[in-house]
């Protein structure tokens, strides 16, 4: 996986040299540079992996990045990293496209005109010299949550040099409420790290710990470890919006935000011993929690006010959670974002800000709408914005500085549990970007290289540095959890009537920072399967109250500010509430992300970041939305099977009905490996990480909204969503690799045939495009290049693609082939070592990425292999078994573990 320190250092020297060449030139090179790499890697073409980490909102997921001949092509999780354990989410997977995105900024600009780095440095020198007399008063730096010790040290250094300067922080998806809630409960701000593997009973109150936020990948893994029937935990979810966490819950109640606060108070009362309440599920949940003291956990979502968080801390204390199922860690940030951005806006408007450095972020787009951040920014004489794209904030600042991607820079990062890791560059900046550290260094007259800054900040050198670099984590750097006592805090929720607008991060573009990423734009949102758009989500009852159907426009207004949005009906959404996903309607998000969807930020004031009373009116007209799945009912066909815990424990078979065993033809003999896959529906949370991982691994193109709305998405593994009786089931569907494949028999040219190990392969060169195979595929896993999608906009340049996978031309069919190239890679290695391919040598891209390890893959000819063992489970079943296609991909049924006391 990693290389020896010597060769590693050689590479870094060369990468550094290339970086210096690229950024030292007078103007950025017209084309992306491909850095020089070790000749050995070129000669044998074997991919290398380097450890690094990707940070979002101050918390990082550790990664191993695949480098093919010096070019980063694929991202995997770092098994040694506590936030990853080898898995990743969709954002991490899609960040490889961000690296290569040709729409990324390449030019340093001063008021729109290309300028040089020296000119910027000179401007800073002039500005700082002018501010020197007043100790730097008027100098401001705006960052997001800072997860990098290096940057913290740099900022501290600047503050020391300019004592009167001020630092500000703004994250659109900030954690002000939980941090303030901790302060109310404990007297200090803390971050919570949850330990789902230790929790028998979890109550998530408007929280989505399995689907978003710091540590979610790890949470999902730990949660899945408690879904095995033998050690099955129970999850209650009370929420407004049908989140991923809610979809996995054994009990779920959809409530409007105000009702959720009442519910929380009800639970608190029940835990304190009050025995009657009219609120659904409260008594059952409370009894369940109390019965599992020390193994129970209550989680409050960010949308709850600080006092509610404080109450939840008190509940957890009562349930014996601290130290068992939750631990408290030093916080990511010491300031309240809303307060910080407010001060900055007011100071800018009053002319008190002379110079502003914005490191990342996009406040001109996502700052609270009541502060008119962009308007205030115009009054700052010297402003500079360091960002990957020329976005809304870049346009509002005097200077725009192209930022190096995290795969191009030296830095460090902090995991959700506080573990430190090093961010190392895999490639010299492709488009001449500079890192935030270099940008900050301009203000502190620092001449040390970013790498030296990182070494200094982490206090690492020599072997310790090299080991940390290789492993991707700094050994035993996780902070000791804080032992804190929770106080009683009073909480009186405000009663609300009428409509509520709720703001949520979008599952694909997050707060808007991923809007330029075509893979994410085209990633079906778990709840709605919409792509390339956001929509105002409403419940069926609310929709009929408003008289709208999917796509009909509504107008949501809050305090005179209005947003027009297309409605989309979600079963499982709370009545009376409209969820408005953030991150859309961007003006400057490149060719991919601009003018997509509607912008909900104008409704979002600093005081009401997550929900607010609103008025809703039906507008005329409709907007065509693209969804990749139009039908979520199973129609009694049970493609995604469910069983009760009792049945699962007693070994009841999930498959029912007649099993066809006879075939007209004798079985085809497979003498060596028999590759097979099993997907555990009880573990799958529907997060889509597999879909993006597959897209990155197999060079799968995007098709755009118009094509997606015609049903032409190209994903080789899709995640079907079924809703049945209030339950949600996620079913990833890759190719079933049927042994008696119906697709193959109907191809007139033999373009899809079986290989000797039982994989149904697609021969692109031979395909003439009759599409008969797709018609005859009962699982509809085949994807067709109706146009030349691989040459379309938003794709990686060929240098960034997986060199072991052909890109497909128009007119040919494609589909999942169990990552055949990975099998080949393992086979080559095994052949060199004169042995069979061993268990674990082949890990498919979807399997590797899966946060819950729902996917098992291997050689089922070996009875001891994991996949063979999993397939023997009584929960195992075959999709559409009655067709007797004999798929190699099979499923394990979902298990429900409802509280017998809770009623239906």
């Amino acid at each position: 996986m990693s290389t020896t320190p010597v060769t590693r250092r050689d590479f870094l020297k060369l990468a550094g040299a290339a970086s210096a060449l690229a950024t030292g030139a007078c103007t950025a090179p017209p084309d992306e540079i491909v850095p020089y790499v070790k000749p050995r890697a070129i000669a044998d073409g074997i991919a290398q992996f380097y450890a690094t980490a990707m940070t979002m909102q101050g918390r990082a997921v550790g990664l191993l990045v695949q480098s093919d001949m010096g070019r980063p092509t694929k991202i995997e999780g770092n098994p040694a990293h506590p936030s990853s354990l080898g898995s990743t989410g969709a954002f991490e997977q899609a960040s490889i496209l961000e690296l290569w995105d040709p729409a990324r900024s390449r030019t340093l600009r001063h008021r729109g005109v290309p300028a040089t780095r020296e000119a910027l440095a000179a401007e800073w020198r002039r500005t700082l010299a002018a501010l020197e007399a007043r100790d730097g008063e008027g100098l401001r730096i705006l960052t997001g949550y800072v997860g990098s010790a290096t940057l913290r040290a740099q900022l501290a250094g600047i503050a020391k040099k300019h004592p009167a300067m001020r630092l500000h922080e703004w994250e659109p998806l900030h954690r002000d409420n939980s941090l303030e809630g901790a302060r109310l409960a404990f007297g200090r701000r803390v971050d919570c790290a949850y330990r789902f593997e230790a929790a028998d009973v979890v109550v998530a109150i408007d929280a989505d710990p399995l689907g978003a936020g710091p540590g979610w990948v790890r949470h999902a893994r730990d949660f899945a470890s408690r879904r095995a029937p033998q050690s099955m935990g129970r999850l209650y979810a009370i929420e407004t919006f049908p989140s991923i966490t809610g979809s996995m819950a054994d009990h779920r109640v959809a409530l409007a935000p105000a009702a959720i606060r009442q519910w929380l108070l009800g639970l608190d009362a029940a835990l304190r011993g009050e025995t009657s309440t009219a609120l659904p599920l409260v008594m059952a949940a409370a009894r369940d929690l109390l019965a599992h003291r020390g193994r129970a956990l209550v989680i409050a979502g960010e949308s709850l006010p600080p006092a509610a968080h404080a109450i939840v801390h008190r509940m957890n204390a009562r349930l014996g959670a601290p130290g068992n199922t939750v631990s408290y860690l030093p916080p990511v940030s010491g300031v309240a974002c809303a307060e910080s951005i407010k001060t900055l806006s007011e100071d800018m408007r009053a002319g008190r800000v002379r110079a502003l450095l914005v490191l990342g972020g996009n406040p001109a787009y996502d700052a609270p709408s009541d502060y008119d951040f962009s308007g205030a920014l115009a009054k700052v004489p010297m402003s500079a914005h360091v960002s990957l794209y020329e976005d809304e904030t870049s346009a509002a600042c005097a200077w725009h500085v192209p930022r190096a991607h995290y795969l191009e820079e030296w830095s460090d990062a902090t995991a959700h549990d506080g573990t430190a890791s090093i961010v190392q560059p895999l490639v010299a900046p492709l488009y001449g970007g500079i890192s935030v550290h270099e940008a900050a260094a301009m203000l502190e007259d620092e001449s040390a290289s970013p790498r030296e800054l990182v070494m200094r900040a982490l206090r690492l050198e020599g072997d310790a540095w090299r080991t940390a670099l290789r492993d991707g984590v700094v050994a035993s750097s996780a902070p000791t959890p804080l032992a804190l006592a929770a106080r009683d805090v009073a909480f009186t929720p405000v009663d609300a009537s009428g409509w509520t607008a709720a703001f949520r991060p979008d599952a694909a573009v997050h707060g808007g920072e991923f809007a330029p990423n075509a893979w994410l734009q085209e990633l079906p949102r778990p709840e709605s399967k919409l792509v390339w758009d956001n929509a105002a989500y409403v419940s069926p009852a609310s929709a009929s109250q408003l008289g709208v159907k999917n796509g009909d426009l509504i107008e949501v207004s809050v305090a005179g500010r209005k947003v027009r949005a297309p409605a989309w009906i979600l079963t499982g959404h709370a009545d009376g509430t409209i969820t408005l996903p953030l991150g859309y309607g961007r003006e400057r998000a490149g060719p991919v992300g601009s003018h997509v969807g509607f912008d909900a930020y104008p409704l979002r004031a600093a005081a009401t970041p997550w929900d607010v009373a609103c008025t809703v009116t039906r507008e005329g007209g409709a907007r065509a939305l693209a969804a990749t799945q139009l039908h979520t009912s199973m129609e009694g066909r049970d493609p995604a099977k469910r069983m009760t815990l009792a049945d699962a424990l007693s070994g009841h078979a999930a498959a029912h009905g007649e099993k066809p065993t006879e075939s007209l033809y004798p079985a085809w003999p497979y003498e060596s490996y028999r590759w097979a896959m099993a997907i555990d529906l009880n573990a799958c949370i529907g997060c889509n990480a597999c879909t993006v991982a597959c897209q990155a691994e197999n060079n799968i193109p995007t098709v755009g909204k118009e094509e997606a709305s015609r049903g032409r998405s190209m994903h080789w593994i899709r995640v079907d969503r079924y809703e049945e009786g209030g339950a949600v089931l996620h079913q990833p569907v890759p190719c079933m690799q049927c042994e008696d494949a119906p697709c193959e028999a109907v191809c007139p040219v033999g373009a899809t045939v079986h290989d000797s190990e039982g994989i149904n392969v697609q021969v692109y060169n031979r395909c003439v495009g009759t599409r008969f195979c797709s018609n005859n595929c009962p699982y509809k896993v085949r994807r067709f290049n109706f146009f030349h999608y691989s040459a379309g906009p938003g794709e990686r340049p060929v240098e960034g693609s997986n060199p072991q996978v052909t890109t497909r031309m128009r007119g040919v069919m494609e589909k999942c082939n169990y990552c055949l190239q990975r099998i080949t890679r393992a086979r080559l290695q095994a052949d060199k070592e004169d042995r069979r391919i061993a268990e674990g040598d082949v890990v498919t891209a979807c399997q590797a990425a899966c946060p819950t390890k729902a996917i098992t893959f291997g050689d089922m000819a070996d009875p001891a292999s994991a996949v063979a063992q999993v397939k023997r489970s009584p929960r195992g079943y075959t999709l559409l078994e009655e067709l007797n296609t004999r798929p190699r991909t099979t499923y394990l049924a979902r298990v429900a573990n409802p509280n017998p006391e809770a009623g239906p």
Binding site: C743, G750, D755
Partner: protein, 176 residues
């Protein structure tokens, strides 16, 4: 006499032609040809009693076409390019039947047409008869009986006399 293709009587209808052909046969004439704008029943049997070999030829080619079609499928699927297609046996004979049927019909049909054209000595774009006056009516409404000049024991005077005895519209001399 070698400059003469034959002597020909132009007749008004198919009955006259059939009667003339019978008389010529009964009179022992050889090298008798009869031309009509549509097939006249009994005429060919009168002039050439031997049954046509065309059906046999067509049958032969049909069998050959079917065998060749099946062989092609078997050879390519089992010997030349054996590959696992959807777990089906290499020799999936039931699925080879449609193509076998089609090649049978194709070869038989081609044999029928080619056999007919070749048996009739066609194509022959130039022919002495085309220069004969009035022969263009052979494809409209006139019927012709021709005694070939190259027949053994042909005598132009006798032939003309025989044709005149049929009371034709006219007797035409056809140059070779």
């Amino acid at each position: 006499m070698s400059a003469l293709y034959g002597v020909m009587a132009e007749l008004a209808d198919e009955k006259a032609l059939l009667a003339a052909a019978r008389e010529a046969r009964d009179a022992g004439w050889s090298g008798v040809e009869a031309y009509s704008p549509f097939p006249v029943e009994g005429l060919a049997e009168t002039l050439a009693p031997r049954a046509s070999r065309l059906p046999f030829f067509v049958l032969l080619f049909g069998i050959f076409g079917g065998a060749a079609g099946y062989f092609l499928q078997w050879y390519t699927a089992v010997i030349s390019y054996p590959i696992n297609v959807g777990g089906r046996p290499l020799h999936s004979w039931p699925e080879f039947i449609p193509v076998t049927f089609e090649t049978t019909v194709l070869f038989a049909a081609l044999a029928a047409v080619i056999g007919m054209i070749a048996g009739n000595g066609l194509p022959r774009l130039r022919h002495p008869l085309f220069d004969a006056p009035h022969f263009d009516l052979a494809t409209r409404n006139r019927f012709f009986l021709c005694l070939r000049g190259d027949a053994p024991r042909f005598d132009e005077e006798r032939a003309r006399g025989f044709l005149e005895s049929l009371r034709p519209i006219r007797v035409i001399e056809v140059a070779a």
